[in-house]
């Protein structure tokens, strides 16, 4: 199959930005032809396509659209194995494709836990059968996420794990975290840290502050996150192993990461769209779709997250896509499960940052594609010879979020009914179109 993506604004940070045509053959990018200035072809040494060949191309008109290297969501929960009523690898991949993602990293808190090569291989096989987006398993730091012994990183790496994390649970034992960082080095596995001090968490179910007090809900202080961020930065300095801080939600964490980066510490960080979009006010009338961990924070925290994104302190936007069914969500607030789905709203919510002038479009692409790829050391970019993992975004498309249209099995989002602008309209993985808004059946 030969595809030509024509006349789009190609945004590939650090590589290319301009109106261009992308030629794809056999799943790979074979040529990028600038339309800005035809005399400066970025791939001038390539053979120009013959007339015959050009006719054989299926042409996608991307006029007025943004063409980016495939977006990567490096923090999702696909729930399989074990919780298939919430999501499966297949439905999660469909949701990812519909959200404009060509790759996802799935967290290990499944049942059984992805702490051994069998589970890793199972996930990879299921993803292969789903044949939609790329799935990069994240394996457990500790066996069974119990925080008492290391998983077999060598085996896990061989099976295809790209990173390790006890996401959902913090690694409370600092010595175990230190040893995990040291031991992971040999295998080049990135450590993704879920930063939370369980003693400070106590019974907390939402952000600590006046609203929690008024609602009679136990609060979670910012320090619950930031003390662990600071610990992991210290361990990162001690061991020299890179650490990626998951779902940053507080201003103190942003400050600590900014400071660490300025000292050259190998720390990277992500936040999720809900932390730069919403505040604790969304909990409102005990809405369990606004309950997540870490919790939605104050306006000041949201502002700090936005600043952290703008100044590069926060490298990545990842969704922490956490599907739950009504069984976990249509219950009392303090008993409800943490988490919201995010794959199918992330691009729209993130584009708002561009509209508001917080990020330039190329910076947004960095945070949703270039940076996750760099941090995870996976192939990325619209360069000749690369696999054709491409997302096409219509930045002007206004629509109302409708959970009933979601590919995800679950419906737990506080964004249902929200009017947004900008949407992924086509997703291509290895030259295969896995989502095309014009043809929902794809």
């Amino acid at each position: 199959m030969q595809i030509l993506i024509k006349d789009g604004r190609v945004v590939d940070p650090g590589n290319y930005d301009g109106i261009a045509d992308i030629f794809i053959e056999d799943g790979k990018i074979v040529k990028i032809q600038s339309n800005d200035n035809p005399r400066q072809l970025p791939t001038s040494n390539e053979q120009p396509a013959t007339r015959n060949k050009q006719q054989a191309y299926r042409t996608i008109d991307a006029t007025g659209k943004i063409v980016t290297p495939g977006l990567i969501d490096m923090h999702v929960h696909l729930r399989e194995p074990g919780h298939e009523y919430k999501e499966t690898i297949e439905t999660g991949c469909l949701a990812a494709a519909a959200g404009g993602f060509t790759a996802v990293c799935c967290m290990p808190n499944t049942n059984p836990v992805n702490d051994n090569s069998q589970v890793t291989k199972f996930i990879i096989e299921k993803a292969r059968l789903a044949d939609t987006v790329r799935v990069y398993p994240v394996a457990a730091i500790s066996k069974g996420l119990q925080g008492t012994g290391l998983s077999e990183y060598g085996d896990l790496k061989d099976a295809g794990a790209v990173a390790i994390s006890d996401d959902g649970c913090p690694v409370t034992d600092s010595q175990l975290m230190r040893r995990a960082m040291e031991y992971a080095k040999r295998f080049g596995l990135l450590i993704i840290s879920h930063c939370e001090d369980l003693n400070l968490l106590a019974e907390g179910v939402m952000n600590e502050g006046a609203l929690a007090t008024r609602m009679g809900l136990s609060g979670i202080p910012n320090a619950c996150e930031s003390v662990m961020v600071m610990r992991d930065i210290a361990l990162c300095e001690l061991t020299g192993s890179p650490v990626h801080i998951a779902h940053v939600s507080t201003m103190e964490s942003v400050r600590a990461i900014r400071d660490a980066k300025s000292r050259g510490v190998a720390v990277t960080a992500e936040t999720a769209p809900h932390y730069f979009t919403l505040t604790e006010d969304a909990v409102g009338r005990y809405d369990t779709n606004a309950k997540m961990n870490p919790p939605l924070r104050s306006k000041d925290d949201r502002e700090a997250i936005r600043k952290g994104l703008a100044d590069g302190t926060i490298d990545v936007i990842a969704t922490d896509h956490a599907p739950h069914s009504t069984i976990e969500k249509e219950v009392e607030f303090d008993r409800a499960a943490n988490g919201i789905i995010g794959l199918e709203t992330s691009v729209s919510l993130s584009l708002k940052l561009v509209e508001e002038g917080i990020l330039k479009i190329e910076e947004l692409v960095e945070k949703m594609s270039t940076n996750p790829a760099r941090i995870l050391r996976i192939e990325n970019g619209l360069t000749v010879g690369n696999s054709a993992d491409i997302t096409i975004i219509d930045p002007d498309r206004s629509y109302i979020v409708d959970v009933e249209s979601f590919r995800s099995i679950s419906r737990n989002t506080p964004f249902n009914g929200l009017e947004v602008k900008g949407k992924a309209i086509l997703t291509m993985v290895g030259g295969k179109i896995v989502f095309d808004e014009k043809n929902n059946n794809l």
Partner: protein, 312 residues
């Protein structure tokens, strides 16, 4: 004025006029309990479900007596006898109750917001009899009634609430209820028991009990739960009693006509000394008596009063 509220969920959602109307109605209801035959037919044919997920003697009995004195049929469901022990969700249990057409569901639940969830889900009137640390509006109303009865009006009074504010739904509801009715509320307790942002309810706080009580017209003591020692809120009952207990000695520096209140159950010798609890300033048992009157008023207003007469 017609009473328009279908549900009694918290003090925040009641207006000053509605609170006044409830208190006026309660004043009239109080007389019924003093008759030799303590029953009127007002709510005959109405069904009131007392749905208690948490242990309660005072509040449940109070609602039960209130319903019976108005001739409503009342029945109690507790967590241990409900299908919750079989894993049924709160919403499912409530929908099943709803299918049997009760007029009022009185709910006490350990989760904040549980009554609000029911109010959104099922059709009977919901009365919150205490939800987690959030609200206990009927307690606040009976406290307002008792203070008003003793002082003539609530407006302009200074009310001190002492103890574990963090975990107290009574404190939260009274912060809102008393300030709404024009009183000044000052809280006291160790910092461990003062929740973040409580001043946004329009109250002030001090860590020093003496500062709170010396000029107050009402002192409300809160129950200290021994198990809070485990979460490091205080070191021992002994020390708590020493720093925050209401003793006769501490009463010496208060107003002569101070009122001592407590939502119960009291820990004698911890937050309140026995001679103070039983002493001349104590109106603790008046609170209990007025609890029945307030609950009669609420049942009447939501199930048999002007609201239904108007809308049916």
């Amino acid at each position: 004025m017609q009473f328009q509220k279908k549900n009694i969920l918290d003090m925040e959602s009641l207006s000053v006029d509605e609170i006044s109307m409830i208190l006026d109605t309660a004043d009239r209801m109080k007389e019924i309990s003093q008759r030799p035959v303590k029953k009127v037919p007002t709510l005959r044919g109405k069904t009131v479900v007392l749905f208690f997920y948490e242990p309660s003697t005072r509040t449940r009995t109070s609602f039960d007596i209130a319903a019976k004195r108005l001739s409503a049929d009342s029945l109690s469901i507790s967590a241990s006898t409900s299908s919750m022990v079989k894993g049924e969700t709160l919403i499912d249990t409530a929908r099943n109750l709803e299918a049997m057409n009760p007029d009022v569901i009185v709910i006490r639940h350990p989760s904040a917001g549980a009554p609000h969830m029911l109010a959104r889900t099922v059709s009977p009137s919901i009365i919150n009899a205490g939800d987690g640390m959030h609200a206990h509006p009927t307690q606040s109303l009976l406290d307002l009634m008792t203070v008003r009865e003793n002082k003539g009006e609530v407006k302009g009074l200074r009310v001190a609430i002492i103890g574990d504010i963090s975990h107290s739904r009574v404190a939260r509801s009274n912060c809102i209820g008393f300030t709404k009715m024009g009183a000044e509320v000052i809280l006291a307790g160790p910092q461990t028991m003062i929740p973040k942002g409580i001043e946004t309810l329009g109250v002030s706080f001090t860590l020093n009990m003496e500062d709170a009580i010396y000029d107050s017209d009402v002192i409300m003591m809160l129950r200290i739960q021994k198990e809070r020692q485990k979460s490091f809120l205080f070191p021992s009952e002994r020390e708590y009693a020493k720093v925050y207990g209401l003793t006769r000695k501490r009463l010496e520096s208060t107003k002569d006509d101070v009122l001592i209140m407590h939502p119960g159950p009291i820990n004698r010798g911890v937050e309140i000394a026995p001679d103070v609890a039983d002493g001349p300033y104590s109106i603790i048992l008046n609170q209990v008596t007025n609890g029945v009157a307030v609950r009669m008023a609420l049942l009447y207003l939501v199930a048999g009063g002007t609201r239904n007469a108007d809308t049916d």
